[in-house]
Amino acid sequence: MATDHPRDEGSLMLRLAPVLIVILLVAPILAGLTMALLPAFGYLPALGGERLSLDPWRALFAEPGIWRSAAISLASGLLATAISLAVVLLFLAAASGSRLDRWIRRLVSPLLSIPHAAAAFGLAFLIAPSGLVARLASPGLTGWERPPDLLIVHDPWGLSLIAGLVIKEIPFLLLMSLAALPQLDTERRVAMARSLGYRPTLAWWKVVAPSLYPLIRLPVFAVIAYASSVVDVAMILGPTLPPTLAVSILTWFSDPDLETRFLASAGAILQLGVTATALMIWWALERLVARLMRGWVIRGGRRRGEASLHIAGKLWVVLVTVIAFAGIAGLAIHSVAGFWRFPDLLPTSATLAHWARALPALAGPIASTALVAVASTLIAAALALAALENEQRSGRHPSRALWLLYLPLIVPQIAFLFGLVVVMEQLGTRPTHALVTFGHLLFVLPYVFLSLSEAYRRFDPRWSRLALTLGASRNGAFWRVRLPMLLAPILTAVAVGLAVSIGQYLPTQLLAGGRVTTVTTEAVSLAAGNNRRVIGVWALVQACLPLVGFIIAIGLPKLLWSNRRGMQGAP
């Protein structure tokens, strides 16, 4: 049989890679969930919980405001997702092929690379009562001579939390959509519909959107799960009395009284339920919208609503982009602000004092951040490449396993991470950089794999075949042809991995037990202190670190292939 290839060097490692990935992603989640479930019913021998009981649940439901916490988590998750998805679809419908489209496509990667915490701080500095927006409007429009006594950031309804999430989830969903769109032959579909008399934006909604949504459904679910259980953004922007469920769980878990661990465990299981409920509500909404859309698509309206859809599509995405970048600019201004009276738009003097004071403290966390990010990303890239190479060589497409990649993105972090901490404590593992790296790998690996698989599967198989018929071995074909030709997408995947790792708050915070601090954990811990100048320094550093990866990812191939025109565009 021609398919019966003898094993060549390294093939065992390749064959193990997919198995290893599944174990790495699934085992910690299962172990973590188990060790949250058992203490939630009172069983944790290490803390004296020998019998199953409902006490933790009674304690949980006796907590003041617990239902409000859960409701806010649920609502903010659903609303943030719905708004983000709507803005992304509106934009794609209105702007396809326009100059704005090209601009936004260029900005989407840097926007995505801004860590959640930095974006949240940026937004907080904009919308706070003494923030840049209030300064811009005062005293002229508002008449405010001093910052008004308004609870805008940390508002009890979680509106600023939702806004902070939307800023970060739009670039994510946009990137996922842009990756899926080429499969749909969008231009010809829209041209077809236009030839039947439909206006362009309406045409997109009627003939592209219904096919696009199923392709980005898993990323949408990941956004729901993330938004309904996020911790760092909620600590910076979310309500405080009571906070969101995920923040409450973290507070209980960090309580020095170990008894509250049982309470925290019950909370983690409740969080799992809240996220599951959010997903089910979304699923029901999907059915409803699909039914309404079906009627609307075939009813034959060709013009009505075109103008408003078109304007909304451009307006919202521009607004969100401006807010995101203005937020980062705000961080920069705060980090060098000297004396700054309220209604003044800019500080009267600039100073490097905050930077000078922060620098000695920055070095350690930056080194830790870089070490963990580089280690977890390199491991993830090696595993992903091995699995994809194995897929190519065996000629199979393991699409069934794909949803497993989304598992760490769909199960709420807080629900399994701290069960995982309990497992690690039982195993006697000390919190180290290695343990934190392992924790980050759970979230870095899916993103690196998803970003790489796209380029890998699109790569023309004839290149490798050609190399083989020229006598190169399978490994030779990989190292001498596939790897160099895919350098640009591989570096992009690495940059994505670094950005994901740099932005991680909860895995570092929980698995390190305070012994490994990164720029992100430090920045988030400053949220309570409210010293904006110091926060400006840390959040700006946090926002800039991932850019280093993207600059290398874009610059290095340009440098290496400056004399190779065929390598300038993506292969």
Binding site: A2, T3, D8, R462, R465, T469, G471, N563, R564, G566
Partner: protein
């Protein structure tokens, strides 16, 4: 370049889900070209994939492929000694022209640089070694691809419609060059095409696949 090789295809039958796609029994002597013709969907590319060692697992194949009397049908692609010329020149975009030529040369060979220079002179591209392949014209690329194939010292060659994407005026010239060189090198070749002119200029036997 005057080795004599012989490619024998014994009772080959490729099928997909029980349906026979291609049946072939043929022998190609040194320097001969066997042309397999047929419309698209007639299983031409499946036959090539089978002979080169890239048949997708979904297909079943029976029969034996003998190269110089040795059964190669169980060998992986890189150890079969069969070279391939594609529709496109497929010059590796990350290597220079010389790098492309060196890619397929056996590692142990002496004097590689001189041989590459000589080979380039041979196809009218002397001094092109350091060039970026993307800066070459279509005809130049096709010639480099042919030379790369020859320098890799294959024992037999498969041609996958290699002239179909060339301009009309280049097509005739390339056909002559390819068939002359393959004949000179004494290589048995199998040409797959749907262009009758290809078959006529190849000069060898023609097998038509139905469907």
């Amino acid at each position: 370049m005057n080795a004599t090789h012989r490619l024998q295809l014994r009772d080959i039958c490729i099928s997909l889900e029980g349906q026979t796609l291609v049946e072939l029994d043929a022998e190609i002597g040194p320097g001969e070209v066997l042309t397999v013709m047929g419309p698209s969907g007639s299983g031409k590319s499946t036959l090539l994939a089978y002979l080169a060692g890239f048949l997708a697992p979904a297909f079943q194949a029976r029969g034996r492929v003998l190269l110089d009397g040795r059964d190669i049908s169980g060998l992986p692609a890189e150890r079969r000694g069969i070279g391939l010329l594609f529709q496109d020149p497929l010059l590796f975009p990350h290597l220079s022209v010389a790098g492309n030529l060196r890619f397929g040369m056996p590692r142990a060979g002496a004097n590689k640089t001189a041989r590459v220079e000589q080979a380039l002179g041979n196809i009218g591209l002397a001094g092109f070694g350091a060039r970026d392949p993307a800066t070459l014209s279509g005809g130049q690329k096709a010639r480099v691809a042919l030379m790369r194939l020859l320098l890799s010292a294959p024992c037999a060659v498969l041609l996958d419609e290699p002239f179909s994407k060339l301009d009309t005026h280049l097509r005739h010239e390339m056909r002559r060059l390819v068939f002359d060189r393959l004949h000179e090198a004494g290589l048995p070749s199998l040409l797959v095409t749907h262009d009758r002119e290809d078959a006529e200029e190849a000069g060898g036997r023609v097998i038509e696949l139905a469907h």
